[in-house]
């Protein structure tokens, strides 16, 4: 019997980038997984947590714990949301022993998508084909909290037709930062433009990341400037044929 995995698509993928969730479903099914989508899922609560509203974040996190209580593998198409669940739920339940214990039981079951492919599915080559030069953006929470750096690059390296061109500031923040992007729009925009300047020097036409929020930020600035660049989630590249 095939292993069942539960998808937590995140609110941004659900609402703005459903194609990322669809791509993940395709890749996982192609690898023989039975994909489950708990329909009462909503958000991880990170916007509230990062903005100084721990009570509201806790409310949402409790809902998350309820929804995914029975899931063996929880696949998340975002380093930032995965880290919220596996690193910061423990912060918000610090003084709630029962929920903290439940969080600790949940933590090892949360898998950022690329890490799941490499460490659980054990595949580097998912049989994808994508023609073009791409550059990879290290999203901050994936890089610094989940320590994801080489993994997505390994997966990209096995995609036929794809050339990976590294930018010189791959590890620098894109400037999104959730509500930071609207509280300090000029600073946030300037950070994105620095990143894009670096990307343009690589000759890449596609920017790949494992976080759709970073890509929304970068694509927004790219479109405003009318640049010939596009952003894609890693899952979309891996689902390409």
């Amino acid at each position: 019997m095939s292993t069942r995995v539960s998808l937590f698509v995140t609110c941004i993928v659900d609402q703005v980038y459903p194609q990322v969730g669809i791509a993940i479903t395709e890749v996982l099914e192609r690898l023989g997984y039975q994909v489950d989508f708990p329909a009462t899922q909503t958000c991880c609560g990170q916007p509230a947590f990062n903005s100084g509203y721990p009570d509201q974040a806790r409310t949402i996190a409790r809902h998350f714990l309820d929804v995914f209580r029975d899931s063996e593998y929880i696949i998340v198409p975002s380093g930032s949301c995965a880290s919220m669940i596996s690193h910061h739920f423990a912060d918000i339940f610090e003084h709630h022993p029962a929920l903290l214990a439940e969080t600790h039981r949940l933590e090892p079951r949360v898998w950022e998508f690329s890490r799941f492919l490499l460490e659980v599915a054990g595949v580097e080559d998912v049989g994808a084909r994508f023609d073009g030069i791409v550059t990879y953006h290290d999203s901050c929470h994936a890089l610094r909290e989940l320590r994801i750096k080489a993994g997505p690059r390994k997966l990209l390296a096995k995609v036929q037709g794809l050339t990976l061109a590294e930018m010189d500031v791959a590890e620098e923040c894109c400037g999104f930062g959730g509500t930071f992007s609207v509280k300090f729009p000029e600073v946030s925009g300037a950070m994105a433009r620095t990143k894009i300047d670096s990307i343009q020097k690589t000759g890449a036409s596609t920017i790949v990341s494992i976080d759709s929020s970073c890509l929304m930020q970068l694509q927004g600035v790219i479109d405003r400037a009318g640049l010939p660049l596009r952003t894609l989630h890693l899952a979309e590249v891996l689902a390409s044929k």
């Binding site: 698509v9 609110c11 993928v13 659900d14 609402q15 703005v16 980038y17 459903p18 969730g21 669809i22 989508f37 329909a39 009462t40 909503t42 958000c43 609560g45 916007p47 509230a48 947590f49 990062n50 903005s51 100084g52 509203y53 721990p54 509201q56 974040a57 409310t59 949402i60 409790r62 809902h63 912060d91 901050c140 929470h141 610094r144 590890e171 620098e172 923040c173 400037g175 999104f176 930062g177 959730g178 509500t179 930071f180 992007s181 609207v182 509280k183 300090f184 729009p185 000029e186 600073v187 925009g189 300037a190 950070m191 994105a192 620095t194 694509q219 927004g220 600035v221 479109d223 405003r224």
Partner: protein
């Protein structure tokens, strides 16, 4: 106070300034990376853990180590003065200068003295204080405060410096850095010879030996602390470390983190006035231990780790926000991520409420902090405190309501799905937290998808059953 938006815009819109900040911080980033790599320093992470543990232990036993330090400084013939405020520190120096008939003093670089507006306080009473660190000297002439904890004149180019020297000292307009340095050295050498008091900061205060440690690259601190008759060191109480051997950890980290040097050019160990058998050193030595709000920080068991800071500036260099807005848009002399966490704690979270929010929480600061201060975590704690202050002031109602609504919707899946089916969960809520126009001021707004993932999944399940 709200964010100084106009000033921030001006900094962002100044290409010369942006290039100066970017180039200088890039260089510091690269230099640091070269000396903390696995090949060069395989035990770098161990050193950070050790530094964190020593600082934690010391801060939690600060009373003990300060008393030990005090008795050892006195045993060497020095004096220790505990100062609750900057005013008390300045008053002590003014009084001493008056008693000894001193009209001019030289200073080496000290952020602690910047923090208490030391020079201004003295000058009000006609006691001249001359900065002898080159960057600080340039800024003193230009009437500016430090732009950066370690590289105070990081934002100025050699052309700016030429203008300052011409305008303030009547020098020829000289843009060759070596010649500028030589010129400044000539002016400052006279000051060293004339001054009767030398004031320094201190990077470390060693409890078990009563010595203070000053690191620098220019030699001016060594001159400031040994040429004049009287040496006064000003240091925050958190600068104490238990043992001399702890320096093996801290000196290894400080220079690497700050400028990418395994060690700075000069490391001075100063333990009191000249002994009868010695030929160099001051006649009198005073250590001014400054509180100025530090004991207030000690009260919070989590946030007190802010006092571990050794002022290396690495968090500034790596901070994408600092690198855009620069040092002068921060409200206090401590800028960048460390400034963002200590300013609200020293001044109160009700002041400059914007500061903890001026971060994308990218975590680059925490990653490079040699003493492992959890800066992003503390920023979030401070955000919570700001939200609470605003609630008590009955301010920020709209944002609070938006997050309450957000949490309510996110825990009521049917409502969430209903709004989602209208393509309006994300967009009507998020824009109210920070208006949509703020997003659109810099970026194109993405189109909501025609069909959410929830809808796609539902239709797919229907199709396959």
């Amino acid at each position: 106070m709200n964010a100084p938006e106009a000033d921030i815009q001006q900094s962002l819109g100044d290409p010369r300034l942006q290039l100066a900040i970017y180039t200088a911080t890039r260089r510091l980033i690269d230099h640091r990376a070269g000396v903390v790599s696995d090949e060069v320093l395989p035990y770098y992470q161990d050193l950070r853990n050790e530094a964190n543990a020593i600082k934690k232990h010391t801060i939690e036993n600060l009373d003990y180590y300060l008393e030990q330090l005090e008795s050892n400084v006195i045993a060497h013939g020095g004096h220790v003065v505990f100062c609750r405020t900057g005013q008390e520190a300045a008053d002590f120096v003014l009084d001493l200068a008056k008693k000894r008939g001193v009209h001019m003093l030289v200073k080496s670089k000290s952020m602690t003295s910047e923090e208490i507006h030391f020079n201004e306080r003295l000058e009000k009473h006609h006691l001249e204080a001359v900065e002898t660190d080159l960057g600080e000297y340039i800024l003193q002439l230009a009437h500016q405060r430090p732009y950066h904890i370690v590289a105070p004149a990081l934002h100025l180019t050699r052309y700016d410096v030429a203008d300052v020297f011409t305008k303030e000292l009547g020098a020829e307009n000289e843009v060759v850095i070596e010649k500028q340095t030589k010129f400044a050295r000539g002016v400052l050498r006279q000051k060293f010879l004339q001054a009767d008091i030398g004031v320094s900061g201190a990077n470390f205060l060693i409890a078990d030996s009563g010595a203070i440690v000053v690191v620098e690259n220019e030699g001016n601190a060594r001159l400031s602390t040994s040429a004049p008759r009287i040496h006064i060191a000003i240091a925050g109480i958190e600068k104490v470390i238990p043992r001399a051997q702890d320096l093996a950890v801290f000196l290894n980290l400080l220079g690497r983190s700050a400028t990418g040097q395994p060690l700075t050019v000069y490391t001075s160990f100063l333990s009191g006035p000249r002994r009868p058998t010695e030929i160099d050193g001051p006649d009198e030595f005073y250590l001014l231990l400054l509180d100025n709000g530090r004991t207030k920080l000690l009260q919070d068991p989590e946030k007190r780790q802010s006092l571990y800071c050794i002022r290396c500036g690495a968090c500034l260099n790596h901070c994408p926000v600092y690198r855009k807005i620069g040092g002068h848009n921060y409200p206090w002399v401590y800028s960048g991520p460390i400034g963002a966490i200590i300013t609200p704690q020293f001044h109160g979270v009700n002041e400059d409420t914007w500061l903890p929010f001026a971060s994308s929480l990218c975590g680059a600061c925490a990653e490079v902090c040699p003493v492992k201060i959890e800066i992003p975590k503390l920023l979030i704690k401070l955000r919570e405190e700001v939200v609470e202050v605003k609630r008590r002031q009955a301010a920020g109602d709209l944002e609070r309501f938006a997050f309450q609504l957000f949490a309510w919707i996110a825990t009521h899946p049917k409502i969430y799905l209903l709004l989602a089916s209208l393509g309006s969960f994300f967009f009507p809520i998020v824009p109210r937290i920070g208006p949509l126009k703020q997003w659109a001021s810099q970026r194109t707004v993405p189109e909501p998808a025609n069909q959410s993932f929830h809808q796609w999944w539902a239709s797919r399940s229907k199709g396959s059953s």
